[in-house]
């Protein structure tokens, strides 16, 4: 038995290295992927605890004492609430046309700025705050301290340490961004700012006289946690109760006194954080698991091949063992033992590396979530066991299945030594029919003669080229031609996004309209409107005629103000479809206005920023609002190639203003896209592309090294005969390379094409849970062709290199080969 193990080891060294490497790789990927996917709920739970976030909050103003008591009474009744806390906050409302008077501005060292028009100040030094947030990246400098959310830091040009100044009626409160705070309920709202206690006291003083600084109360609530789903339901239910209670309260007060001010409330839950991050994180996790499975499949193919060829090579020895009385199962067990040891060692290595690499991947998750997840997600013990189980089950079943032939070996086999399967087969690809060079033909013969090997090589090359072509389609669409991904983002790609802080901004827009190459000016605004009583955000446009982003994937664009597009995923969840009528309602000036709208098409929303698209006059009362112009931005379009630079445009507008222009956002459409998702996506594209291409090259190269080494060992005698007959080293090397290139070419053509064609459907499958189930990526056929050619060329080069030892096989060898 030992001799089988020894000879198998001798012949399969490279094979073992590959097997081992891939087992480790697969285990690492599986552990990380599973830890991420299985750790999702834990991630949110832990992130909540680490960031000390509440599950939700509701904030009320107008008559704080009374409303607060009302809501607190409700809270006291509930036994599912773990903790709640009332937090005093200040809300800043900047009046129109007030220049720089009342504003928080942040400047970075490149002169870029972020201006907070209305913002919300919370006291970081409030020791009574039960939900005091976790701070990171803190710096110490002179001046007042401002703390922003991770999301704000990520998506704006602002970072920690930048200069910040709050101006109130000409008084400047100068300071800096002192750090980032983590709070799951506030992460996506840039205007939520924590400030140092000293500034907070100043603000409190200012609020006594300045009516634009409004004191509010925020009730932060945390529930007893059993699981994510229960927690989410509890949040929704409680907020519903609050809203009803406040409505009743308003109604009863209005009955007593029709002039009584209405109490407003706003609320937020960590649900936004979850929907905003869950998809991308899950996608990362599933991608890792998918990759682990592919690598495991390669492991299975390689082991099956190694074991089968060993059984064939060892027929004689196995026959001898049988004649000595060993049973089939004992012999099969010896193979199991070999692979058991290898996979055991590599499993261990994989587990150690997997756990070791976890922080790196958590770092990626942190970047995606924009909340520090380093302590929130860790190696999932269940995931480790699943990975171990998968590898053990896979290896043992593959070894068991591929040793099936041992059953058919009898003591007689020992006498006849080499029973080779092909002895009883037809002579495939006979030379007398050949029309190609003899070396090429001998290569072909080895392809058709060794079916197992050929199938393995083809399968692995196919898998790898499929991956490559998949990755290159993704890369192309994320990096080179982004139109497809932009179409899915529901963000319009206009030349400029621009608005002005003036009661009448028309002189500015007039100036823009006069510019050379001006094409169109479309009003656009983001609003919250209830669709059939479900409150959600949507994007309104004055026209859909100039759209450069093709939002639509089914139906048509709205033509009339009562027609809307609806996000596909949302439509699905609400049971809505094209042709349905919905009731759109919103409170404008405290009056509920409604309109019945027809759904005329679907759009997709990769980054979750709108549920519906419609015309700006969807609710007439909204459009008629005096400050509608103030709150909306304009999409400015120039004719193809005539768009000015941002500075040119700025100069034109400065002339109109005679100096400083008060912008309400001034960005290139492209920058809007970049900051919202393209930047992230592009970095991902680069990384994925280079990682996958190098992995493919390594996998294929290792595979060839293994195969050709094995082949040189097994075919020594035949190559010596060829040499004796007059074949040169180059001839034999060509035969070997041709065989591999043929297999590689078939594999890469099939894999490349299938990969190209299945990328969009596959992404759609995965994407459906992040709100984008209809990918129609452009297939870069140039890339695919390059892959289809590059892989066989790589195979040719590596095969030739590996076949160099043919030089040492000389005909005189026949003297000694017996």
């Amino acid at each position: 038995m030992w001799s089988i193990i020894k000879s198998h080891f001798h012949k399969g060294k490279t094979g073992f290295i590959i097997t081992g490497l891939f087992i480790s790789l697969s285990v690492i990927m599986m552990i990380v992927g599973l830890s991420i996917c299985l750790g999702m709920d834990g991630l949110y739970y832990n992130a909540r605890n680490l960031s000390n976030s509440p599950d939700c909050w509701i904030s009320v103003y107008e008559n704080p004492g009374e409303e607060q008591a009302l809501l607190e009474n409700i809270l006291k009744e509930r036994d599912d609430v773990e903790l709640y806390d009332v937090q005093e906050i200040y809300y800043f409302e900047t009046a129109i046309g007030e220049d720089d008077n009342n504003r928080l501005s942040v400047f970075n060292s490149q002169g870029q700025s972020l201006i907070f028009n209305s913002w919300l100040a919370m006291n970081i030094d409030d020791e009574d705050n039960a939900f005091k947030p976790y701070l990171r990246d803190s710096v110490e400098k002179e001046g007042y301290k401002f703390y922003i959310t991770g999301n704000c830091a990520e998506t704006s040009p602002i970072s920690v340490g930048d200069e910040a100044v709050y101006v109130n009626n000409g008084v400047r409160y100068e300071g800096y961004i002192a750090g980032i705070y983590d709070d799951m309920t506030r992460i996506y709202h840039h205007s939520n700012v924590y400030v140092g206690g000293d500034l907070y006291q100043e603000i409190a003083k200012l609020s006594q006289t300045d009516k634009s600084i409004i004191e509010e109360y925020s009730i932060n609530i945390r529930f007893n946690y059993t699981d994510e789903k229960a927690n989410t339901l509890a949040q929704q239910e409680l907020l519903g109760v609050f809203v009803d209670a406040l409505n009743d309260y308003n109604a009863s007060r209005l009955q007593e006194d029709p002039t009584a001010p209405i109490v407003y409330s706003s609320y937020w839950t960590r649900e936004d954080f979850k929907t905003g991050t869950r998809g991308f994180i899950l996608l990362l996790g599933t991608a890792m698991i998918a990759f682990a499975i592919i690598v495991a499949a390669i492991v299975a193919i390689v082991i099956a091949f190694l074991v089968r060829s060993s059984v064939l090579d060892e027929v004689r020895n196995l026959g001898v063992w049988k004649s000595l009385g060993y049973t089939t199962n004992q012999l099969r067990a010896s193979y199991l033992a070999i692979y058991g040891v290898i996979s055991g060692i590599c499993l261990l290595v994989g587990v150690v590396l997997g756990i070791g690499l976890m922080p790196t991947f958590v770092g990626i998750v942190t970047n995606m979530a924009r909340l520090d997840c380093s302590k929130a997600i860790g190696t999932n013990v269940g995931g480790v066991f699943i990975a171990i189980f998968v590898v053990v089950a896979l290896v043992s079943s593959v070894v068991y299945l591929s040793t099936a032939k041992v059953k058919r070996i009898t003591p007689l086999s020992a006498m006849r030594s080499n029973i080779q399967t092909h002895s009883f087969k037809k002579n495939k690809a006979p030379l007398d029919k050949s029309r190609i060079t003899v070396n090429a033909h001998l290569g072909v013969k080895s392809v058709v003669g060794e079916t197992h090997r050929s199938v393995m090589v083809m399968a692995i090359v196919l898998i790898m080229s499929l991956l490559c072509s998949f990755v290159s389609v993704v890369f192309y669409n994320l990096k080179v031609d982004q139109s497809a991904i932009i179409n899915m983002s529901a963000i319009e790609n206009a030349d400029f996004y621009i608005g002005f802080y003036y009661e009448d901004p028309s002189p500015y827009f007039d100036a823009i309209h006069e510019m050379d190459g001006f094409e169109a000016d479309v009003i656009c605004t983001r609003v919250g409107i209830s669709i059939d009583d479900d409150y959600c955000y949507g994007q309104l446009y004055s026209s859909f005629d100039h759209m450069r982003t093709n939002f639509l994937y089914q139906g048509r664009y709205p033509k009339y103000s009562n027609e809307i597009l609806i996000e596909e995923q949302y439509a699905k969840s609400e049971g809505l479809s094209i042709g349905d009528s919905v009731n759109m309602s919103m409170e404008v000036d405290m009056v509920k206005s409604e309109k019945s709208c027809v759904i005329v098409g679907y759009f997709q929303n990769l980054i979750d920023n709108a549920r519906f698209l419609g015309f700006v006059d969807i609710i007439d009362e909204l459009y008629d609002l005096d400050d509608f112009a103030f709150y909306s931005q304009h999409l400015i379009y120039f004719e193809n190639g005539k768009a000015p630079t941002i500075d040119q445009l700025d100069n034109v507008l400065r002339e109109v203003a005679g100096g400083n222009v008060q912008y309400n956002g001034f960005q290139r459409g492209r920058d809007v896209l970049n900051s919202s998702f393209l930047n992230t996506v592009e970095t991902a594209a680069d990384a994925v592309m280079s990682v996958f291409f190098s992995i493919t090259a390594i996998v294929i190269a290792l595979l060839l090294v293994m195969l050709i080494k094995l082949k040189l060992l097994r075919e020594r005698r035949n190559y010596a005969i060829y040499k004796a007959l007059g074949y040169t080293t180059a001839d034999v090397m060509t035969q070997i390379a041709v065989a591999m290139v043929i297999l590689g070419a078939i594999g890469s053509v099939v894999g490349g094409i299938v990969g190209a064609l299945t990328t969009s459907p596959m992404l759609s499958l995965f994407g459906s849970f992040i709100g984008a189930g209809h990918f129609s990526f452009i297939i870069p056929w140039g890339y695919i062709v390059a892959i289809v050619f590059a892989i066989p060329i790589l195979i040719y080069a590596v095969s030739m290199l590996c076949a160099i030892p043919v030089r040492r096989i000389e005909p005189a060898l026949l003297l000694r080969v017996r």
């Binding site: 002895s423 006979p430 030379l431 007398d432 003899v438 033909h441 035949n718 004796a724």
Partner: protein
Amino acid sequence: MEHGNDFVISTQGLCKTFSVGGVQQHVLNNLDLQIAEGDFTVIMGNSGSGKSTLLYALSGMDRPTLGKIIFGGEEISEYSNDKLAKFRRANCGFIFQESFLNDNMSIMDNVLSAGYLSKRPRKQVYGDACKYFESVGISKDMYSKFPTQMSGGELQRVGLVRAIINDPKVIFADEPTGALNSANSTAVLDIMNDLHAQGKSIVMVTHDIRSAIRGSRVLYLKDGVILNEISLGNYDPLEEKSRLDKLKCFLDEMGW
């Protein structure tokens, strides 16, 4: 010598030394030899005397440690491995003790894989292969058989066909009958005599006196040199007895 100057192979001071574990073994020792065109040369000698080594050196399969080999006017001992390989294609045919056929392909493919190395049209090569197969008694229905499905005698005849498919200058045979019974041996040797009769030069190594009498000239190898030789004239089955006696006598002298 009757063949005068038309030597197809001649060697000068041929040496072959193997070193195994630091110990040098001089297998061929300053060996001078001429092989005439059209001769059927037989090399005899004790086991381990270096017969195979000599044959491999003469045929360009292996290179001498020292000395010259001039084959058809070319000094092949100077050639690189690749040049030697190309030289063998055109000039040398081989028959081994074991047939050394490739088990992974049919016997026809075995022959063609040698035949296609020549520049002749493939049709012609195939035609020749069929012709030769017929002449050695291998029928068409066996062409697609694999070596593992054939008897030793059949295999050796396939090997013969492969050896002559490119019409080489010299056919080299290393104990071609070593693994065959007497009937099969006779058949193979008869073919070789036919080839010789057609004018082919043959160099054959053998242990077996009955095989050796088929040659026209018998060399005796000992201590790395040709100790002596005997000329038997061209083979004639009717003279079998007298050739046998003559050779036996010679070998006795050599201390065989």
